[in-house]
Assembly symmetry: C2
Homo-oligomer: 239 residues x 2
DNA sequence: TTGAAAGTTTAGTGTAGTCTAATGTTGACG
DNA sequence: CGTCAACATTAGACTACACTAAACTTTCAA
């Protein structure tokens, strides 16, 4: 009965939802997601991925080119963005409304994203004022499935003298996140590059407007995604 | 993004958690929970229950007497009460903090209860002021696993003239719950029995203090669990 | 140009949980 | 006190999703 209605809104398993998210992240710049990369991100064995890939392409969520990798179909991309919206809204809700620290929200959201209803996500979004960014600065897709594609540069790749706004922190590791928070390195912060040592050495930055210096090794600098900001001659726009 | 798919710890599955809750409710008065009753409550076939019963008794969560039924062990009871605490706190959080109506919270909590962490439950409980009752008046077990056992009578069984406080509403059916709310029949309300028709006929009650009458058929009256309240001679204690 | 390393898929196994059909057990009542 | 209907269990099949071991494909360097 009403097979078409049911098939139009097929229920995805938590496993499938996590695979789609990972494939989205790995094939973001239009390329293919490789079996072994998916396996590493999900912490499963490569043959488990091959098995899931077969199921996902049979249901039309991905396109598989054997020995090459996979890409999301339009339907798969829609499902992935829906999960990413849920994940990021949950992260923000937990930090803003329940006092979670930005290092611990990821694990919690990773489970809740599969259990919440669309109505609950709506209500949380409304309670937060339909926010655009999650606690780590990542853009929250709209309910319609649109997502902002910002052009950001890694702090490790910017030359000395540039003024930047820190926009996204590219890790979910609680220890690294807590360290960044201690250093005042959270999305929205303004800074200038004051020095970089050769041979992949550390970058020295100055926080704006305080001027407080911070020294950031290459491993961490690669996680700090920034937007260039035009330098004003004297002083900085307040706030 | 990792570690959620495969977890080596002896965590209970969502299925197991739901079975334990149902067995708790069915064997509450010290009796046995019957296979077919468990099956009906979970909407699965009886052989599915037999299979699960085997697994649960092997893990020490229940005691099985073949052809008789099952009972929770101390360990099983602890796990069941932990789930009931989660379920009821979630229901209350959704109604109080996110504007849910008491008819829709059950379905949402039924899924979320398996996904939330102990920390999240703690934070929600604190945000609510460590509440004792859920939106339907059911007692919330403490984190230590204690639960209030109230002695309540069904509105269908009380004789005319009695004064009562409505304490619990014994259904999760959204339609019935919405109807009760429309009629002002929510936990905490005071009322007096003014009439009952014979042959399982309807009960007429008066709301206190307004005196507004309500006529409640036996099917619904059986769902309204009350505590007797001593009648004061003239007027009623305010609020 | 070839051969081995790196990466991917196939083959086979296991666990959890569901189902239907068949069989076994219990207890109420005629 | 025996029969049978209701209830419970066993038997066997199926799906989803993981694993290891083995086979296969691609790539890259000698
Ligand atoms: Mn997840
Ligand atoms: Mn995030
Ligand atoms: Mn549940
Ligand atoms: Mn409830």
């Amino acid at each position: 009965m009403h097979a078409t209605l049911r098939d139009a809104n097929p229920e995805l398993t938590p496993s499938v939802e996590d695979y789609l998210k990972v494939i989205y992240h790995l094939s973001n710049q239009g390329g293919f997601a490789a079996t072994s990369d998916i396996a590493a991100m999900l912490d499963v064995a490569p043959p488990s991925v091959s098995g899931m890939v077969k199921r996902l392409s049979e249901t039309g969520l991905i396109e598989h080119v054997p020995y090459r990798g996979v890409q999301l179909t339009a339907q798969g991309r829609r499902a992935a963005l829906r999960m990413i919206r849920r994940h990021r809204l949950l992260e923000l809700y937990l930090t803003q409304q329940l006092g979670y620290d930005w290092g611990s929200v990821h694990a919690e959201a990773e489970r809740l994203e599969h259990a919440v209803s669309d109505e609950l996500i709506d209500r949380m979004a409304r309670a937060l004022g339909d926010p655009q960014y999650d606690p780590h600065g990542d853009p929250i897709p709209t309910a319609a499935g649109e997502i902002e594609e910002a052009e950001l540069v890694s702090l490790a790749d910017v030359s000395v003298g540039t003024k930047l706004e820190l926009r996204q922190v590219g890790t979910q590791d609680p220890a690294r996140l807590r360290y960044f928070a201690e250093q005042g390195l959270t999305p929205g912060v303004l800074l200038t590059i004051t020095d970089r040592q050769p041979f992949n050495g550390p970058t020295t930055i100055g926080l704006v407007p305080s001027g407080d210096p911070r020294v950031v090794g290459r491993e961490l600098a690669l996680l700090l995604w920034c937007r260039e900001v035009p330098i004003t001659d004297h002083g900085y726009a307040s706030r």
